[in-house]
């Protein structure tokens, strides 16, 4: 059986005054029913653009998906007609956006905004859609859902808006839910609640989730697969366990090290990745990460590393991914190598 979603070699660019931004450059992954894929990476690494490209929501003509395939149940979304894509959006693939404060329309009632896709995709009447919106609000844990459905977004708190966004995304029982940093704008206790809610929803509906975040800690207990992005490229991809416990890319080590990890070294100082993410207009030659990589060698400045299998479908794009000596030392004491 083919995968629910298969993304092959996706590349998206933006034309700006300063030059061409290679926001996503050769990303591939697969997603099966009920699975959760986490996409992680620093700000500006192309996570949101990847998600928008899948939904074909990149604003043309500034932005353009320049190559690749997005196979949803075998059909390439990038090649479908506009109306076929619209039939998928909101119905089969739904998205929760990064900022709940601005992602709801301020002049429409929340219930109406949730019901909109039901009217569109399920052919419900306004009344039926409203009733279903009330149920959905109840389901995502909003008290007095019937009254709340008649409220406007500004009457909702940040956490409630994000719940409303989740209700909106779940309205049509999508096969895939893309959640773009659904919790970064919220405070910590609410973050936990929202994640809990998403896990619960997934168990109930069996939806596959693409969870975008720059926080590896958040995905630890959620993800089946993890994809690490750096400067628009996929640098590591595989089962969550593999990526978490035997990371094969120095950038992933850096990400993991910048997390407070009580299990490894209580006293150890955090090792945040130093330097700035590169400009996506002038991506460094060779490995894009080499200027910031503490282990960079000559080859890293010239040769572009390709994603290679390091075992059991675990992929990493580092020249030394398969160098056993380097890997052993690095994963034990990342700070002391080189």
């Amino acid at each position: 059986m083919s995968a629910l979603l298969e993304v092959r070699d996706l590349a998206t660019q933006f034309t700006t005054r300063d030059g061409i931004v290679r926001a996503v450059d050769g990303v591939s992954f697969t997603l099966d029913c009920g699975e959760t894929l986490a996409i992680v990476g620093e700000s500006g690494s192309g996570k949101s653009v990847t998600a928008l490209s899948i939904m074909r929501l990149i604003q043309e003509p500034q932005g353009k998906v320049v190559s690749g395939q997005v196979l949803f149940k075998g059909d390439d979304i990038l090649k479908l007609s506009d109306s076929k894509v619209r039939a998928i959006r909101g119905d089969r693939i739904a998205m929760i956006f990064q900022d709940p404060m601005t992602s709801l329309n301020p002049v429409f009632r929340v219930g109406r905004q949730i019901g909109e896709s039901l009217i569109l995709h399920k052919g419900m009447s306004r009344k039926e859609a409203f009733e279903r919106a009330v149920e959905l609000l109840d389901m995502v844990g909003i008290p007095h859902p019937r009254d709340r459905a008649r409220d406007y977004p500004h009457q909702f708190s940040g956490g409630m808006r994000q719940r409303a966004m989740i209700a909106m995304a779940l309205a049509c029982d999508p096969d895939i839910l893309i959640a773009d940093e659904p919790t970064t704008a919220l405070d910590v206790t609410i973050q936990a609640q929202i994640l809990e809610l998403m896990i619960e929803m997934q168990e109930r509906t069996g939806a596959a989730i693409i969870m975008i975040t720059h926080d590896l800690g958040v995905v630890a207990d959620m993800a089946d697969d993890v994809m690490v992005m750096y400067a628009g490229k996929q640098v590591e991809y595989g089962k969550a366990d593999g990526v978490f416990y035997t990371p094969r890319h120095p950038y992933t080590w850096g990400l993991l090290d910048s997390l407070p990890r009580h299990d490894i070294d209580e006293k150890g100082a955090l090792l945040p990745i130093t330097g700035q993410p590169p400009s996506l207009i002038n991506v460094p030659a060779g490995c894009a990460f080499h200027p910031r990589c503490p282990y960079a060698k000559d080859v890293c400045t010239t040769g572009t590393p390709v994603l290679t299998d390091v075992g059991e479908g675990h992929l990493a794009a580092c020249h030394f991914s398969n160098d056993p000596e380097f890997q052993r030392r690095a994963s034990q004491h990342p700070g002391e190598v080189a």
């Binding site: 939904m55 998205m95 601005t102 329309n105 301020p106 002049v107 569109l120």
Partner: protein, 325 residues
């Protein structure tokens, strides 16, 4: 809400006092040339007795501050005094003129709303297209053209030249007096377009920029992600947001047109409040000038209040007069 309205009505009082005070200062001896009594009697000679009679009749023998107090007292009772020149009550005169001004302003607002909003939307939806450039260019020119000049240009072109060139067909009547072959409303076309011109340009520009701004908002992407058509996204989600400031502008502009109509009404000899004020200024017929200004100020304030109240209907984020959110 009720408290809000009451407060706003009370805020009108100082405005009335300010406006009438300024006008009274203008009529103090020596501020503006021209003696109203001389204007009443005209060039003919007049006996001192008759002159005295006129002065007393209009209370001009009183010191200015007394006159002012008397004026305010009468104003409170809805009495705007009597015209020097016409021997009629000012309220009566304006009761005739006001409907004409309102009619013209209403026609202009309709033009402004329909043409301005449509042009703005087209311009935004087809950004950088030929039509967009055309709208941008023509609005830039329009906002810098003096209204009276535009009015005269219209008269010359549509009223006179077009008539000459086409042998009497396809031209537009300039003023009520021009001909009887047109229906009544046809006389309003040119003055209404003239009155609407600058505002229409502004509305088109505001509409365009608001629409473009709305189209760039996050909630538009949310709407697209639901699978809505481009059209539903534009005309449902973006338009309602973009219209809020435009409706406010148009509403307030309706008030502005009451006063702004002075130029248009004068150029087109439109028998409205503005033209009456213009004529009265020339004749130093102070009761008419003051009465006209007071009426306009009153209308502008009422309209602004209504606009502010309707704003709350349009924009759910706005609520007046406290109360729970």
């Amino acid at each position: 809400m009720f408290k809000y309205v009451v407060r706003r009505v009370f805020q009108m009082i100082p405005v009335f006092i300010g406006v009438t005070l300024i006008l009274f200062i203008l009529r103090a001896p020596g501020v503006l040339p021209g003696d109203p009594v001389r204007m009443i009697t005209g060039e003919r000679g007049m006996t001192d007795a008759l002159r005295q009679q006129i002065i007393e009749k209009h209370g001009l023998d009183q010191p200015l501050h007394r006159q002012y107090v008397i004026y305010l007292g009468n104003l409170l009772q809805g009495d705007l005094g009597e015209s020097y020149q016409r021997g009629r009550a000012v309220t009566e005169i304006f009761a005739d003129k006001l409907p004409n001004t309102l009619r013209l302003a209403l026609a202009a607002i309709v033009i402004e709303g329909i043409v301005g909003v449509t042009a703005g939307i087209i311009s935004a939806v087809r950004q950088y297209s030929f039509l967009d450039v055309l709208v941008t260019l023509s609005t830039s020119i329009l906002v810098s053209v003096p209204v009276f000049w535009l009015g005269m240009l219209f008269q010359i072109f549509f009223g006179i030249k077009l008539k000459e060139w086409t042998g009497g067909a396809f031209y537009l009547p300039i003023s009520q007096m021009s001909s009887a072959q047109f229906p009544d409303w046809a006389h309003m076309i040119l003055p209404a377009i003239t009155l609407a011109s600058v505002s229409t340009a502004y509305v088109a520009r505001i509409m365009r920029s608001q629409m473009l701004e709305a189209m760039g908002q996050d909630y538009i992407r949310t709407a697209e992600a639901k699978g809505l058509t481009r059209r539903a996204v534009t005309f449902r989600h973006a338009l309602k947001n973009a219209l809020i400031p435009v409706v406010t502008f148009v509403g307030i502009d309706f008030g502005v047109m009451m006063g702004g109509a002075i130029l248009t009404e004068t150029v087109f000899s439109w028998p409205g409040v503005g033209r009456e004020i213009f004529l009265a200024v020339g004749q130093r017929d102070w009761p008419i000038v003051m009465g006209g200004v007071v009426i306009i100020v009153f209308l502008v304030m009422i309209i602004n209040l209504l606009v502010d109240l309707s704003y709350a209907l349009l924009d759910p984020r706005i609520r007046y007069g406290g109360g729970p959110e």
